[in-house]
Symmetry: C2
Subunit: 429 residues, 2 copies
């Protein structure tokens, strides 16, 4: 039996007899011939069917039926890739498929988002949809390759935790053998502890937020790309690693998923050698906001994004020095003015993509920070252990994978770039 | 200020003044000098302190205090790596550390497992412990590199699911905005659906089992390495990919974590070009078990492991054909005898490491399989969608990361190789 050939490699088999395998993407029956498009993981191939028996066979095989086609590779300038299969014989690898819930052969899927999400297991077969997750996969690869090369160790921290990480309000509660446990909102505490072990760590994993909001930006579960490193001077060292990581992610897409980027309509950014940085107080001034605002509003972020593009030709802008009030207790203050912190947000095209910064590393500072917020250190016992036993100055950041791909393809709704989104109303498929 | 040098690279800086940064691993005060061992992410370095003021400074800095040492690199055949630092000046990068709960400088940590796990954030700093997770990280890298090279796409499936995947008995229940949801016991359904999209997929992620057992083999949360691929002939094609993956994992350890393998006392296997395969019925006969046994007992697996080593010189043995009764409903029967299935377990040194096989791919077969088990297809609606719309013959497998590292270092208890294990009694740290 002929070995399988992928549809995008036909050009190297001209005039040979080959076998391709895939899904019936589309059939077009004309007066004397039927055009068949077969889709496999590499792309599409055209098959020309003129034999009557085979045309009749195709008539009963709906779109999405899985088939094997043996045919002769023939040049045709009009076919995808300049080649098509002629004089084919077709073997069915699955029973005839039911009519797909969405027309996968159309260039774009013109159906509502809820329908798309309900039909995700089949709808995501559409080439432009597939491409979005190929971008995500290529990004993850670039993320890890960059950090592996810089001597980071990959960790996997537990998602079932005994206490909530950041704030109790948005934590999912699990029945853990009859007692309550929580789903980790982030690997924050674990990645810090592991700086004590490996100095430099990263993790790719799910995080869980019981967000009671139904918006285009929120997910109850998403993929977080977490990084933490020790022996830094301050948060600027963290920003430098973040720059390398994002550059590596874009580079990986260019290298391994250029076609997917095109199919998904992604606009890949140029990552500058160094991110432009602006202080939070200066950012407020620049957008004409009240100097006592504790945070940037979305319209401020958009204005700053435009400013970065005009002034620095950069899709990215780091805003540093966020006020302590809006940052978690482990955030390191700005040494010369404790109203501010050594933390940052990275804006990508005017939207917050990454949050990061330097953390406290002295036990006494944690005790004080918790006391200032009226919290007891007892709730953080196993986390605080670490700081009693020697921790270097350290910091890190977290990138939301879905937020990243949403920005790349300029999606209007984060659910559109999430494989199986979870929110207030959706827990299936 | 001098740039930081890693402790294992001192040999390339002989007679230069360098700065190292790390933890005080050990101090030994002799009559006229103090030996200081500094630990950083690369390993250990010896510092010789003869200056009185610096010796007194060290007296008040406990083990695990984080310091910076500037000193001259001097040859000393007795020191680790043949070099040591002399005439040092020491800068404190953290407050003096409290005495560690375990003596990290001892070659082995001779404390009970519960103590180790309670003190994990600090105990895992021990070089031999660190090494275990470096093995895990290197294995993951080899896993992904192998599959990336074979055209697989990485996916991230949701961990919050609307129905239980395999059997209700061991599923954790989550309060999902006032309704019940479940923690995924495996990405099985999602990876199969994604074969319809990408043909070949893999995922590394947490899985959750509410195992009410307190044993040396069970974890309530572990890291699963999942693979699924379409257009196979049968489960033997899946076994071939599994072989490549395990070979890639071992190769990655040899290439990127050879020192960790030595420190952790790992015994790396040779992965044969092809796994020896034995049929389940033949396996029962070989170990002298009742031919009607539906599964292999642990002592049978151990006996088969010894047999594979003797007969095939292999640490691995694939057992194929397990009876349908003991396999999930989506398992593909053995075409010539439906008492058996196209599934396998891979034994590694006489312990089950991997479960896998060919799955059903026709909708009608799923309906029948569920009916045979008295289950309604309604509960699996979004999963079954996939099979109505054309799915190729496919199969896959899952490797438990902790089980893999446990076997490599021959750990007596899986908790010993798990960063932060979760079980019936343990949810912290």
């Amino acid at each position: 039996m002929l070995q399988r050939t992928l549809s995008t490699t036909l050009a190297s088999h001209q005039d040979e007899r080959v076998a391709i395998e895939g899904w019936i993407h589309r059939r077009r029956r004309l007066a004397t011939i039927t055009f068949l498009i077969v889709r496999d993981r590499s792309g599409l191939a055209q098959v020309v069917v003129s034999d009557d028996a085979t045309r009749q066979q195709l008539d009963r095989l709906g779109e999405e039926t899985v088939i094997r086609v043996e045919g002769t590779v023939s040049a045709n300038a009009k076919a995808h890739g300049g080649m098509e299969l002629t004089t084919p014989t077709i073997t069915e690898l699955s029973a005839p498929a039911a009519t797909p819930p969405v027309e996968l052969w159309r260039p774009t899927l013109a159906v509502s988002l809820p329908t798309l999400l309900d039909k995700a297991p089949v709808a995501w077969r559409h080439p432009a949809q597939q491409a979005i997750w190929r971008l995500a996969a290529a990004s993850l690869r670039g993320f890890r390759e960059t950090l592996d090369a810089e001597d980071f160790t990959e960790i996997q921290s537990p998602k079932l935790v005994g206490g909530s990480t950041e704030s109790g309000a948005t934590t999912f509660i699990v029945d853990y053998f009859g007692r309550p446990a929580y789903l980790a909102q982030s690997p924050q505490f674990y990645k810090q502890m592991m700086v004590g072990v490996f100095e430099r760590v990263y993790e790719v994993g799910p995080v869980f937020r019981a967000e009671p909001h139904d918006t285009v930006r929120h997910l109850a579960e998403y993929v977080s790309l977490d990084v933490e490193l020790g022996f830094i001077r301050d948060h600027r060292d963290v920003l430098r690693v973040l720059r390398d990581v994002l550059a590596g992610m874009v580079e990986s897409i260019r290298k391994t998923a250029a076609e997917a980027a095109e199919l998904a309509g992604a606009r890949l950014p140029d990552v500058p050698a160094e991110f432009p940085v602006i202080h939070f107080s200066e950012a407020l001034r620049l957008v004409g906001a009240d100097p006592h605002e504790p945070d940037l509003a979305p319209e401020h972020e958009r204005a700053l994004g435009r400013w970065a593009l005009e002034q620095h030709g950069s899709d990215f802008l780091a805003v540093e020095g966020y006020p302590a009030a809006k940052r978690p207790f482990y955030t390191h203050p700005q040494p010369d003015d404790p109203r501010w912190t050594n933390s940052f947000d990275l804006l990508f095209r005017g939207v917050e993509l990454v949050t990061g910064g330097q953390r406290l590393h002295e036990y006494a500072d944690y005790e004080r920070a918790l006391a200032d917020r009226g919290e007891s250190p007892d709730a953080y016992e196993s986390y605080l252990q670490t700081f009693r036993h020697g921790m270097p100055p350290h910091g890190g950041f977290a990138i939301g994978l879905e937020r990243w791909t949403a920005r790349l393809v300029e999606a209007d709704n984060i659910h559109r770039v999430t494989l199986f989104p979870r929110d207030l109303h959706r827990i299936t498929p």
